[in-house]
C-alpha cells in the first residue's frame, strides 16, 4: 500500500480523517440555524473533499483512470440531477440519492470481500459479519429508495399482491438474506477445506434477496406515509456507510455514517409522532380501507357544505387582521407556492399579520412545505410549527387551507374511533373563518371524511390550488 503520500505514516491518514469527521460534526451544528446553515453545508462538503483527496493520495492507485472516470461520471450525473430538478420533485430526488449511497455501501462491502480473497487474506468473523450487515442494509436502501422515488414520481403504483402475500414475501426474503449472511459468517470455520472463493456467491445471494426485500418493504406503503419512509431510508444509508466502515476499518466512515444514521432516525421518530403512529404500523400496517366511510361522509357533508368564490374570500381578507395559511401536499402538486407567497406578501403590505401553519407531515418528506415556501421567498420566520401556531388560531380571522386535508381533520381530537384519533392536528376551526381550498370533497390519504368541511365557519373554495390562489391574488390586486 503505497500511494503518493504512502511514505508518510498511517497517522497522517488517520489525523486527516479526524479533521474530516470534525468538519462533518461542525457542519451539522451549523445546520441548527438558518443563518449559519449554508456555511455548515460548505464545511461539511469541505470535510468530504479533504477525506477523498487524502484517500486518493495515501492509498496505492493502480488504476487511477477507473477512479477518475467513476468520479467524473458520478459527479456529472449528480450535478445534472441537482441542477435540473424542480423543487416540487425534491422528495423523489432525495430518495434517489439515499439509494445510491446505500447501493455504493453494499457494493463496496462485496468488493472488499473479493479483494481480501484475491490478495490471499482470510475472511475473519468481523469482516464477514459486518459485510453481511452492510450488504443487507445497503441493498434494502438501494431498492427501497428506488421504489419510494418511483412512487413519488408516479411511475410505480401500489403493490400488486395482497397484504398477506406481501408479508409472506417480506418474511421469506428477510430470512433468506439473513441465512445467506450466516452462511458467509460461519463458513471459514465449518468448511475449512473448501476453497474460500466458492463461498463468495453467498454474498451476492444475500444482496439479491435483500434487494427483493427492499422492494416489497416499500411497495405497499402509501404516499402520505412517505415522509417516514424517506427519513428511514436516509437513516439506513448512513448505517450502511457506518457498517462498511467496520468492514474497511475506516473511522471516518463510521463517524459520518453514524451521524447520518442518527439524523435519519430522529426524523423518522418525529414523523411517526406527528401522525401518532408507531413505526411498525407505518411500515407494515397501513391505514384501513374506508369502505364503510362513504355513508358517514354523505351524512356529514349533506346540506352542510358552504361553497365560496375567490371574490367572497377576497372580501373577507379585506377586513382581516390576522391570516394563517395552512399548506399541504396539494400545494406541492399544484405548484401553488409562488401564488400563495404572493398572496401573503400582498396581505402583509396592507398591514395584515400573515403566518404559515405547517404540520410536520404535510407533504412527502420532512420539511417539504418549508422547502417549497422558501423557494417562493417566504421568510422562515413566517413558517410556524404546529405547537406554536395552534394556540393562535382563536385570535385568527381567516385561515386558508390549501391542499391539506388529514392534518386539519378535527376527528383526530374529537372522535376516539377515528383511524387518525390522537394524531396532533392544526386546530384551524378555532379561527373565525376557515377557507378550505381543495379540488373536491374526496377524502384525503387516510380515507376518512373531514367534519371540518361541514362546520358553520368553514367555506369550501373548490379548485386546483394554483388556479384558486392565483385568482385570489388577482381579485385582491384589483380591489386595492
Amino acid at each position: 500500500m503505497a500511494g503518493i503520500l504512502g511514505g508518510l505514516t498511517q497517522s497522517v491518514l488517520q489525523l486527516t480523517y479526524l479533521v474530516a469527521g470534525v468538519f462533518f460534526i461542525q457542519g451539522l451544528r451549523d445546520m441548527t440555524h438558518p443563518r449559519t446553515a449554508t456555511r455548515g453545508n460548505m464545511i461539511s462538503s469541505a470535510g468530504m473533499f479533504l477525506a477523498v483527496v487524502i484517500t486518493i493520495l495515501w492509498f496505492e492507485m493502480l488504476s487511477p483512470l477507473v477512479v477518475g472516470a467513476g468520479m467524473l461520471v458520478g459527479g456529472g450525473i449528480g450535478a445534472w440531477l441537482a441542477v435540473s430538478v424542480e423543487t416540487t420533485e425534491m422528495p423523489q430526488l432525495v430518495g434517489l440519492f439515499n439509494g445510491f449511497g446505500g447501493g455504493a455501501s453494499a457494493v463496496v462491502a462485496g468488493a472488499e470481500l473479493v479483494d481480501v480473497l484475491a490478495s490471499g487474506g482470510s475472511l475473519t468473523l468481523g469482516l464477514t459479519a459486518t459485510a453481511s450487515i452492510a450488504g443487507i442494509i445497503g441493498a434494502v436502501t438501494f431498492w427501497g429508495s428506488l421504489v419510494a422515488g418511483g412512487k413519488l414520481h408516479g411511475v410505480v403504483g401500489d403493490s400488486p399482491v395482497s397484504d398477506t402475500v406481501g408479508h409472506a414475501i417480506k418474511v421469506f426474503f428477510f430470512i433468506g438474506s439473513v441465512a445467506a449472511g450466516l452462511f458467509l459468517v460461519v463458513q471459514p470455520d465449518m468448511f475449512g477445506s473448501v476453497p474460500l472463493a466458492s463461498f463468495l456467491p453467498s454474498y451476492w445471494v444475500l444482496v439479491a434477496t435483500a434487494s427483493i426485500l427492499g422492494v416489497f418493504l416499500v411497495l405497499p406503503i402509501g404516499g402520505a406515509d412517505m415522509p417516514v419512509v424517506i427519513a428511514l431510508l436516509n437513516s439506513y444509508s448512513g448505517l450502511a456507510a457506518a457498517t462498511t466502515g467496520f468492514v474497511l476499518n475506516n473511522t471516518v466512515l463510521i463517524i459520518a455514517g453514524t451521524l447520518v444514521g442518527a439524523s435519519g432516525l430522529i426524523l423518522t421518530v418525529i414523523m411517526c409522532e406527528s401522525m401518532n403512529r408507531s413505526l411498525t404500523n407505518v411500515l407494515f400496517g397501513g391505514l384501513g380501507s374506508g369502505d364503510d366511510n362513504v355513508e358517514d361522509m354523505e351524512d356529514i357533508y349533506e346540506g352542510n357544505i358552504t361553497e365560496t368564490s375567490p371574490e367572497e374570500v377576497e372580501m373577507l381578507l379585506e377586513t382581516a387582521g390576522r391570516v394563517v395559511i395552512v399548506p399541504g401536499y396539494g400545494m406541492a402538486v399544484g405548484q401553488a407556492q409562488h401564488a400563495v407567497a404572493e398572496l401573503a406578501e400582498l396581505l402583509e403590505e396592507d398591514g395584515v399579520d400573515v403566518e404559515f401553519g405547517i404540520h410536520p407531515v404535510a407533504g412527502r418528506m420532512p420539511g417539504h412545505m418549508n422547502a417549497l415556501l422558501a423557494e417562493a421567498d417566504v421568510s422562515y420566520e413566517k413558517m410556524r410549527e404546529l405547537e406554536d401556531v395552534n394556540p393562535m388560531f382563536s385570535q385568527t380571522d381567516v385561515v386558508i387551507v390549501t391542499g391539506a386535508n388529514d392534518v386539519v381533520n378535527p376527528s383526530a381530537n374529537e372522535d376516539t374511533d377515528s383511524p387518525i384519533a390522537g394524531m396532533p392536528v392544526l386546530d384551524v376551526a378555532e379561527a373565525q373563518t376557515v377557507i378550505v381550498n381543495k379540488r373536491s370533497l374526496s377524502p384525503g390519504f387516510s380515507d376518512i371524511p373531514n367534519p371540518l368541511f361541514a362546520r358553520d365557519n368553514t367555506s369550501m373554495l373548490f379548485g386546483d390550488a394554483k388556479e384558486s390562489m392565483q385568482s385570489l391574488v388577482n381579485e385582491y390586486k384589483e380591489s386595492r
Binding site: 443563518r35 477507473v66 450535478a79 463510521i254 420539511g367 422558501a374
Partner: protein, 93 residues
C-alpha cells in the same frame, strides 16, 4: 484497529449525532436530509480504494460502480442542499 475500538467510535458518534440533530428546526429538515444524505456518500472513500487497488478485474468493476453511485450521492446531495439553503437565506432577508 479492533472491532471494539470501532464500536466505541460508533457509539460516541451516535450520541453526538443525537445531541446535534435534535436541535435542528423543522424548517431545515429537508436541507438537513439532503446534506446528511451527501455525508452518507462517505462510502466513496471505500469505493475509491477498491476501484484504485486494481487487485482483480471483478473488484475494479465493482469499485467503479460504487464510485459512480457514491459520487452521485455526494455531489448531488451537497448541491441540492446548497440550492435549498440559498433559498432559505433569501427568504430570511
Amino acid at each position: 484497529m479492533t472491532f471494539v475500538e470501532n464500536l466505541t467510535i460508533f457509539v460516541l458518534a451516535a450520541f453526538v449525532g443525537y445531541e446535534i440533530i435534535t436541535k435542528i428546526p423543522t424548517n431545515l429538515h429537508t436541507p438537513l436530509m439532503s446534506g446528511a444524505n451527501a455525508i452518507s456518500g462517505i462510502t466513496l472513500l471505500g469505493s475509491v480504494v477498491v476501484a484504485g487497488s486494481g487487485s482483480t478485474q471483478l473488484a475494479t468493476v465493482l469499485g467503479f460502480v460504487a464510485v459512480v453511485m457514491a459520487t452521485i450521492n455526494v455531489v448531488g446531495g451537497y448541491l441540492v442542499s446548497h440550492f435549498m439553503l440559498d433559498q432559505f437565506s433569501k427568504g430570511g432577508r
